[in-house]
Structures are given as C-alpha cells and as structure tokens.
Symmetry: C2
C-alpha cells in the first residue's frame, strides 16, 4: 500500500502541532485514510529556530518552493499565513498535482477565487476548515450539512482576542485599554493588536463564511468593518442596563431587495446582544458561530477559536478527507458561487441602533429627540429616560432602518442644542424587549 | 444532463417536509449537486391520509417494496422509522444500486452493521445525519472534521422531550408527572411517552454517537439506560442547591484500562451538571452535543433536535452529498470500526454520585456515613450538612469510583440505622466545586 506523502509549510504554533499529531496519531490516520500518511518535509524560515516539536532528522528545509515542486508530494499543508509567499506556494503545489489544506484566512479572504480556480483546474482539493473559528467545525457544516437548506444569517464570534477583552470589560467594568493590557499579559493579544482589535481578522473570516453560506464571492474588501478600540466602559454599562452584552460580531445576512434577488450584507462591528442570546454566554477567548436557516432553524457551533493544537485538529480533519479523496481518485465539492449575489454597501444594510444621549432636562426634550429620529425616517422601538436635571440621559433603541438613515440620525442629534453629548452609539442584534 | 431520481419512503412529519424542500429548493439543489434532483415516488401507508404537503399527482404509492425495486431510482430517502419494514426496504434499495439516506436511529442502533455491510457490498452510500439530534450537524463533524483528532468524550442532550420536562421541573419546581402533562399538552411528548422518558430514544442515539466517535461497533444493547421518570422535585432542588441542574445525558467515553486498550463506556441517565457547563444552558426542547477531544479541546453543537422541518434539513444535506458522490462515481467514507474497542459494563464504568440522606442528628453520624463510603472504596469530594434535629440532611458528592462501588455504597447507607432515608441519588458530571 503506497503511503500518501505530506509536506508541511510552516512550523510555528500550528505547524508544530500538525507535525506532532501526524506522528502521534499515525496508526489512527492510516486506518481512517486507508493508507499511511508520511511526512516528507517541513519548510521553515530558519533551521535553528526553537520549536515545540522535534522534527525528524533531514525533513526540515528552508526551501519551501523546492518542497512544493517535488513530484513525490501528494498533500501540502500550508500554515505559514499571510499573502506571500503562501499564495505562490499553494498555487505551485496545486499545479504540481498536490492537494492542499490551509488555515490561511487572510489569503482566502483576499484572493480566494484565484486559489479555487487553480484547484478546479488542477482537479485537486483545497480545504480550509482551520481558517475560521479554529477547531470548530463550521465550514464543513455550511458547505455540506446545510447544502439542502437555505441559510439566511450567520452571526459569529470569530475572534478570541476581542471576545476576551469585551468579556473582561463586561465582568470587571474595566475600560478598553486596561482589558487589552490584561489580554496582552495573558498572551491572548499580540504586542501589536491591530489585526484583532480593529476587526481585520474577523472581517477575513466573515468574507469566508458569507461566501460559503450564500454561494457567492465575497472578499475582505466587501466587508464593512469596525473594531472594538472605541468601545467604552460606558457602552458596556449601557448594554448591561438593558440586559445585553457587547460582542464583536461577524454578521452575514441575506437582505431582501425589492424586485431583485436577495443581496448579501457582510459586516464586522461591536453590537449589543441580549444576555438570553446563545452567543451572549460565549466567554473569554472562546468562539461560536450562530447560523439561521429556513428549515433547520437556529444552530450554534461553539469551541476554541485559536491555539496551535485546536487549529491543528481542524487541519488534520481536512487532511483525512483530502487524503481519502486522493486514494479514491476523486475530489470534494469545489467552491460554488452560482448564486452570484450582490453585496450591499453598509449604508443600505438594515440595522438597529442603541443611542444614549446626555440632554438638557427641560420640557420638550423627548419630543425634539423623537422628531430627529422621525425626520430621518427611523422609528423608535424603546426610550428610557434616566436621571434628572444635569444628569438627564435618554437611551433610545431604534427599529430597523438603513444604516445610512441611522447614522444620519446620530449626526442630527449631535447638532441639536438640547443634546449635550451623544455618549454611546452601538448597533443592536437579536430580539431585545 | 441526466436527473438523479429520488424515492421517498414515508410522508409523515419529516417526509412531507422533505417533499416540500425538494420542490421549493429545486433550483439550488440542482446547482449544488450538479444535476437536477427529481422526485419519482413517495411510499405511504394510505393514499388518502391527510398530509402537510401536496404530493404531485401519480407519485404516491402504497407499494414501498415496488418503489425501491424500480431500476430507475438513484437515491432512496427512508423516513418511515422503526425496524421493519424499514430495514428490508433499505437493504433492497442498496442491493438495487440506490444510495440511501435515512433518519432511522432505532434501526441504526439495533442493526447498523447489517446496513453498513450492505452499503459496502453494494458500493453505495448510506448517510444518516438526521438520526441524531435532528438538524444539528454532529455525525459529519465526528466522522470527518474530527477524523484527525482523538475524541475522548461525547456528552449529549439528544432528546428534546425529556429536556423540556426537566427544564420545566427546574424553572417551575413542578414534579415529573405535572411537567410531563404540560409537555404532552404542548405536543412535546407523545401520549405514550415511554420511548422518550425512559431513555430508549437517547440510548439509540448514544450507540450511534459512540460508534462514530470511537470507531467501534456499539449497539443499543451495549448502552446502560435509565430514564427520568424517577427524577423528583427534590432531586431537582438538591441539584439547584449545589449550583447544578438535572439533564438527561447520553454519555460516551473512552475509559483507560490497565494493560489494555481504552474501552468504551456508553450510558444514558439523568445527571447533575454545574450551571456553568455549556450544556446547562440548553433550554426547552433544544438539543446539544458536547465533544471533548485531545487536540481540539471542548466543542459544542446546538440546535433543534427534532421536528419535521429541521430533520428534513439534515436529510437534504445528506442527499446533496450522496447525490454528488453518485455523479462523481464515488462514495463517501464507509463506517469504520477498526478500533474495535470493548464496551465496559456499567458496574465497571467510573462515575460520581450525589447522595442526599435524611439522618438522625446525633454525634458520630457524619463519621458513620464517611465510613460507609470508605468501606466501599469510595472517597468523598464534598459533604454539606443542612438543618438540625429531625430535619438534618447530609448531602455527599463522591469522587470518581466504579458505578458498582457507588451503587453498593448507597445500598449500604440504606441499611444503616442512623439513616432515615436516602432522599436523592444521582450521578454527577462536569466539574463541580
């Protein structure tokens, strides 16, 4: 029985766990694949770097391009990350007839179609479960389990760093800066936390989720993005006052269009969700993806969203499928973008806002504020008035309107004499009372 | 492009939704499969029964055997349920070269191997995602996503009826009989609720989950089973007092064996789990499956566990995969029982007990009770003493011991003079303080 030969590109936190599992689970992998899986090379930047795993003698190489060009490699695992050289290496691997498993969300979100076309042309598999929400099986359920259903909405907590920070702000009352510092001390946030806290990482994952859920091409550029660095302790308290919690959500939705096919709206931003929502109980650095579909109803997938070992589990799950396909001389379903839905700009996306306003406590204030909403075409769901005199505060939650209308309403409020300050503006998701 | 021809066996709550979705999603199914999917027959018991869907003229038949024997049927969907005639029909369909999708947990748990062997021999697919936890994708993740990992434990709330009843008992303080009646009034429980409340339904699902998780053959007979009809309001209150909640759990675990391969323990019984456990927040008739694996860590899958439309979503997801395989001239991975693990009897399975005891309030009582535990080789984790005088109660939570040791301890306690009554005995899962 011929062994399937695997090359691993990258031996950092994920790659080293992949190498470890390939060794430790060798017997099980052989039984599950139907043939032995043999590691034939590991490409690294520096041969002498410290590693979490002992790579067998002679397998390490700094020549990644040479490794993927070898004609005896059946399967390539790319866990380098970033756009280049990862893209060139994956394309070269496919051209040389290898099947590819990758965890590279940035590359897939930026230039997925190029990779999918290359896989299609080569007749090989390109699998990437590990790219979204680490070990949580979510891409395969979207792509396969729900293939007979119509997904209408995906709401995900897909970035562990920001969830840890927001959870800390919620439980301790800390501000953003303090919570970020704690996340950095504990290793949940990087020294330069931009990719996480500004939502770039979540936006890449949102693009991948939306593409699969709606059978359309959505890239990172199509995703509206706001991070959590502007979320204040006052926002978190305001959420708490209405029985909600602030989460950074990746939201992918079908949006009905008059006289046309449903469009797709994809966005990443902090939002208030009710504490009774299943996503509200996702604590610390955990991830979860909540899916709504016509026939299945509401599903949730929960687990560790990052980390070397969980991510390696997802990579190896893909590897087993790809290896089985290889042995059977077939390939899995390729990407499907047949629905070809339009992506809606954020301004046209329908959302709901929570707005807290410091106002002068005098007669007619509520009427004036209500008029400002009405003039912008936004209807109000609830108003709560708190305090009196100098501390008077109005908290308004709107009904659904376009994000442009809601944003114009806030601008309008800011310009009103009776409004001393708009103290908190945040979108709202889920059913609030 | 040749259409793939589908026969549906059964047109009850699930079958009628399958027929509806096949029609409503026809365009999407064609795009996702790569060929049209055409309904060619629906087998029913009576032609004139009331149905939730209008079946196209001429497709209804009472001759199920004739339908699966037709040589122009590519795919057969079995949603009749029960052992016969479902088994004969599935075997006949496979022999005739059709691929099969079924939701039949009872049949799979009783006689799965016969079906798997028939599928293997015919070179056809047999898929059954809908058999466990309705719309929740759990079998595919176990079988495929976690194929490169080592699953150590599966804890599932896989029966909606009993979860509804226990949730009601927890939130309202009702007893079992009252909560069951409400479940029956609301349509969550059947007139004869035995299969649900005595754990038979959950045990069938546990057998299926254990087989997939541990790559071994586990049948319904291998599953230790206790239902919830003996759970009292006092048990639920006792759980509440220690920050826990009572759930009917399907538990599938690897159990280390000295000097031998890990064995498998599979059981269904009510258990107290801490309210902080992700499964504790599964309310009403929802289902959830919690999976622990070596590399991925803790995952949870949550959603509606029953109902015509959710179950039909799972059936159609399988149908798309099976149809794609058919077009590609291949089949998915068959069942794998290579690990061939032994199934441990309940007595040898390691568990933990919660025991509440009415005792005489006199000196030496605690020492006597502690001695009873020690003499049976069980060590105590926590003891809580409540009340005084006639109302004195001891609540003991043990450390792990074999179920036989724990059961003997309870018997021993019942025979002690100072013990007036053992008021609550229940197994405990998850990390309690």
């Amino acid at each position: 029985m011929r062994a399937l030969r695997v090359a691993v590109l990258g031996c950092g936190s994920v790659g080293s766990q992949v190498v470890r599992l390939l060794d430790e689970q060798a017997g099980d992998l052989t039984a599950r694949v139907g043939a032995p899986v043999e590691l034939v090379g590991v490409a690294v930047r520096r041969l002498d770097a410290a590693r979490d795993v002992e790579v067998p003698e002679g397998l390490l190489t700094t020549d990644a391009a040479g490794l993927v060009a070898r004609d005896d490699v059946d399967l390539v695992i790319e866990v380098i990350g970033g756009i280049e050289p990862a893209r060139s290496l994956i394309l070269s691997a496919l051209e040389n007839g290898a099947s590819v498993v990758t965890a590279n969300k940035a590359l897939l979100a930026e230039d997925g179609p190029t990779l999918f076309e290359a896989a299609e042309k080569a007749g090989r598999d390109l699998y990437y479960e590990a790219a979204v929400a680490g070990a949580i099986p979510i891409l395969r359920p979207l792509r396969e389990s729900l293939a007979g259903d119509r997904v209408t909405r995906v709401l995900g907590i897909v970035n562990g760093t920001t969830n840890f920070i927001l959870d800390k702000m919620d439980t301790s009352g800390a501000g953003f800066a303090e919570a970020l510092e704690e996340a950095q001390d504990l290793g949940y946030a990087e020294a330069d936390p931009t990719a996480d806290v500004e939502g770039f990482d979540a936006a890449a994952k949102a693009a991948i989720l939306a593409s699969l859920a709606f059978h359309s091409r959505v890239t990172a550029n199509d995703v509206y993005r706001e991070g959590i660095s502007e979320v204040t302790a006052a926002d978190v308290q305001s959420a708490r006052d209405m029985g909600s919690v602030v989460k950074l959500l990746a939201i992918c939705e079908l949006m009905p269009q008059a006289g046309a096919d449903d469009a797709v709206a994809v966005r990443v931003h902090p939002a208030m969700i009710p504490r009774s929502h299943p996503l509200a109980s996702v604590r610390e650095a955990y991830n979860a993806v909540f899916v709504e579909s016509e026939a299945a109803g509401q599903l949730m997938f929960y687990g560790p969203g990052a980390g070397g070992s969980p991510t390696a589990s997802a990579v190896l799950g893909d590897l087993v499928t790809v290896a089985r396909n290889r042995l059977a001389g077939t390939r899995g379903a390729g990407e499907s973008a047949y629905a070809d839905r339009a992506v809606l700009p954020m301004g046209e996306t329908r959302t709901r806002y929570h707005v807290a306003i410091d106002v002068d406590d005098r007669a007619g204030v509520l009427a004036a504020v209500a008029t400002a909403f009405a003039e912008n075409g936004v209807s109000i769901s609830t108003v709560r008035q708190e305090g009196r005199g100098l501390d008077a505060e109005l908290v308004v939650v709107s009904h659904e309107a376009t994000d442009a209308q809601l944003s114009a309403t806030v601008q309008h409020l800011r310009e009103m004499d009776i409004v001393r300050e708009v103290t908190s503006v945040m979108r709202v998701e889920g059913d609030h009372e």
